[in-house]
């Protein structure tokens, strides 16, 4: 617990030259930390994606040897044929890596770290040293998780949700050390996440520049702030549950082992009490980024800014009351089922408000369909689909049929990929120039977008149909069931689309890496945006602002009638209002 006072508002720094290691490796600068998160999480996104390709191989071509399958050890895929036990590990680790090591760090670790101080006019986070720890803890966390693949018994195989007693007793999965490593890794991850959230909350409350009132903050900052609050309250629950699970696995406790008096449902309640706020952690920052990018790409203020803020708060608040909808078929008290059904349907309302507001923002806007904007618009469209499928699941009687089928898999991928990942792409394309001082290639960006969009839908839309056909989740060989055999061609179609989806990421990878070195030099404000980050050089210097900025208005003053340009940075005062019309003259057009 460091009590060393962090210089809170002082833009001055030691002028002696910091070593390369202090400046770029063990840096306390939020921008460097954000970029470190970016590189690390993109690597894990790739890992998660490769795991998905392997899963799709098994589902599309069950029992056929993997290409290059000879590289896999005998314990995983003898002669390249994936073993059922390895399949369980694949499914578990795909979910785990994607949720905890890709999407969360990409949305929160990258954008909260990079954007918050810049967008509120602060020189850095409230606790820069803690921030550094937040990143570096991800290294042991990630190492422990990857290590699972290399220990006897293999990696965790109880699903990313780790239901007990499957996860608590090695007798059920054949995995012992791997399960413990999974728990340990996530506990370290939880600590990293908590330190980050602590920083974001304190920074937003206390370090805003003069004039940056709550209702002048960009929606990306609002979303990240509320997300951090969700994190600080929900992640400790996960940590507690993981500790109890780990104790069941190692020191002989019986929290979740029914054979010795424990309660398996307790795990589910604890996990989902964390897990539902967690999914809002996975979507709210994406919504915030989308708002910023759509306003920019429409050259219009966000429609209904205040209601957007209240909707974020409502989603976060209601998110605590819906966790049981993941447990409708668990055997929990049916009275709870009714309660959760109602609360889950209510939470659709603020999300719908946001969707309509994005559409309202684009309506009659001067649309600039640059790559970030394309990705942001895709977010809205895919989120609508994902949200609508959610309404079906919210209904307990319907869920009896679709729970644990591919209908759920379709839903979660529509919101996590169609939603979060497209928003992440939008954010990367949008803020890359600021981060690295170089532009990404626009043509490659558009190619990446369209290929991804098309193949993504070809992969995940059919999963709704698979699910309604009764195709269950996490199943190694669907063809063992006669009623699923007619679905085999659809599985094959989905798998081939998935491989093409994977290949479609190559333009992005190339574009990203190439532009880092050879990209066109970026201007200070290439997107003609209003945020405070666009008032400082690309990339910004240590300390961000030479002088603390003063904020005069909200972040979405696009196409202001009296402004010279179609944008108006927050640190420039609003232009003077026109004089009122003389009585008897024609009425002026009102805004």
């Amino acid at each position: 617990m460091s009590t060393a006072a962090a210089p809170v508002a002082a833009p001055h720094h030691e002028h002696h030259e910091m070593s390369f290691v202090r400046k770029y490796i063990f840096s306390t600068d939020h921008k460097i930390i954000g970029i470190q998160f970016l590189f690390l999480s993109l690597v894990f996104l790739l890992v998660g994606g490769l795991l998905a390709m392997t899963i799709r191989w098994q589902l599309g071509f069950p029992g056929r040897p993997l290409p290059m399958g000879g590289l896999f050890p005998q314990t995983m895929a003898p002669n390249g044929i994936i073993l059922p036990e390895f399949y369980n590990a694949l499914v578990t680790m795909h979910g785990t890596f994607m949720v905890f090591f890709a999407i969360m760090p990409l949305l929160v670790g990258v954008f909260a770290n990079y954007l918050i101080p810049l967008k509120i006019g602060a020189p850095d986070m409230a606790f820069p040293s803690l921030n550094m720890w937040s990143f570096w803890l991800m290294i042991p966390a990630g190492t422990l998780m990857v290590a699972g693949f290399f220990v006897e018994g293999g990696a965790s195989s109880a699903g990313w949700t780790g239901y007990a007693p499957l996860s608590a007793d090695p007798e059920y999965t054949g995995v012992s050390t791997g399960q413990v490593l999974w728990c340990l890794s996530l506990i370290v991850f939880a600590l990293s996440s908590l330190l980050g959230s602590l920083n974001y909350i304190t920074t937003v409350i206390n370090l805003r520049a003069p004039g940056m009132t709550w209702f002048r903050m960009p929606l990306s900052v609002w979303a990240l702030f509320i997300t951090a609050i969700l994190g600080i309250l929900a992640i400790p629950i996960l940590a507690g549950a993981l500790i109890m699970l780990m104790f069941d696995q190692t020191i002989g406790t019986h929290f979740f082992l029914s054979a010795s008096g424990g309660q398996p449902l307790l795990w589910q309640h604890l996990f989902w009490f964390f897990g539902h706020p967690e999914v809002y952690i996975l979507i709210l920052p994406a919504m915030g980024i989308t708002s910023d990018v759509i306003a920019n790409g429409s050259r219009k203020p966000i429609f209904g800014y205040h209601s957007m803020v209240y909707a974020i708060i409502a989603i976060a608040f209601l998110g605590w009351l819906v966790w049981g909808h993941h447990m409708f078929q668990s055997g929990m008290n049916p009275r709870l089922g009714t309660t959760f059904m109602i609360s889950t349907m209510v939470i659709a309302v603020p999300s719908a408000v946001k969707v309509f507001n994005w559409l309202g923002t684009m309506w009659k806007g001067d649309l600039h369909l640059h790559t970030p904007m394309l990705n942001a618009v895709a977010f809205v469209a895919m989120f609508i689909i994902g949200g609508l499928s959610g309404i079906f699941m919210a209904n307990t009687p319907v869920d009896i049929y679709i729970h644990d089928t591919y209908f759920i898999v379709a839903h979660l991928h529509y919101v996590l990929f169609g939603g979060s990942l497209f928003a992440i792409f939008a954010g990367i394309y949008f803020w890359f120039p600021k981060m690295f001082g170089k532009m990404m290639n626009e043509t490659l960006g558009k190619i990446h977008f369209w290929l991804t969009f098309v193949f993504y839908n070809l992969v995940f839309f059919p999963m709704h149909l698979l699910g309604m056909g009764g195709h269950m989740r996490r199943i190694y060989d669907p063809n063992q069931y006669e009623f699923l055999q007619p679905l085999a061609p659809m599985n094959k179609f989905v798998s081939i689309s998935a491989f093409l989806l994977g290949l479609s990421q190559l333009p992005f990878m190339f574009n990203f890496l190439w532009s880092l070195v050879k990209g066109k030099k970026a201007d200070i404000n290439p997107w003609r945006d209003n945020g405070l980050e666009w008032t400082v050089p690309s990339p910004p210097p240590h300390g961000n602002f030479a002088h603390t900025p003063t904020v005069y208005h909200g972040p979405y003053e696009f196409s202001h009638p009296q402004a010279a340009e179609d944008f108006l940075p927050q640190n420039q005062p609003l232009p003077a209002a026109p004089p009122p019309p003389e009585p008897g003259t024609a009425r002026q057009e009102t805004r």
Partner: protein, 92 residues
């Protein structure tokens, strides 16, 4: 919204005596032979009273801005919801 210039210090010794007395009462009533229900109720009341003394006086919440108090209270309803809902699994 500047922090209070005056550092109000309550009588810490008085609070300490209060805590000691409450602890002694807590331990004492366990051996009184009360009915189970009353014992639980009394113990909960005493524990909450002690916790409030520590929070309000030692942790100075009584003298901090109201906004901080609101922030600090937020986890409590969540804790209550979790326990109350899950207890529904046991229909007793």
């Amino acid at each position: 919204m500047a922090e209070a210039f005056e550092r109000k210090h309550p009588n810490y010794v008085a609070v300490w005596i209060g805590l000691a007395v409450l602890t002694a009462i807590e331990v004492g009533i366990v051996y009184f032979g009360l009915t189970r229900k009353f014992l639980i109720l009394a113990l909960m009341l005493l524990a909450v009273w002690k916790a409030l003394l520590v929070a309000l006086y030692f942790m100075h919440l009584k003298f901090e801005p109201k906004r901080l108090l609101i922030i600090v209270l937020i986890p409590l309803p969540l804790a209550l919801i979790l326990v109350a809902f899950v207890l529904q699994e046991y229909g007793r």
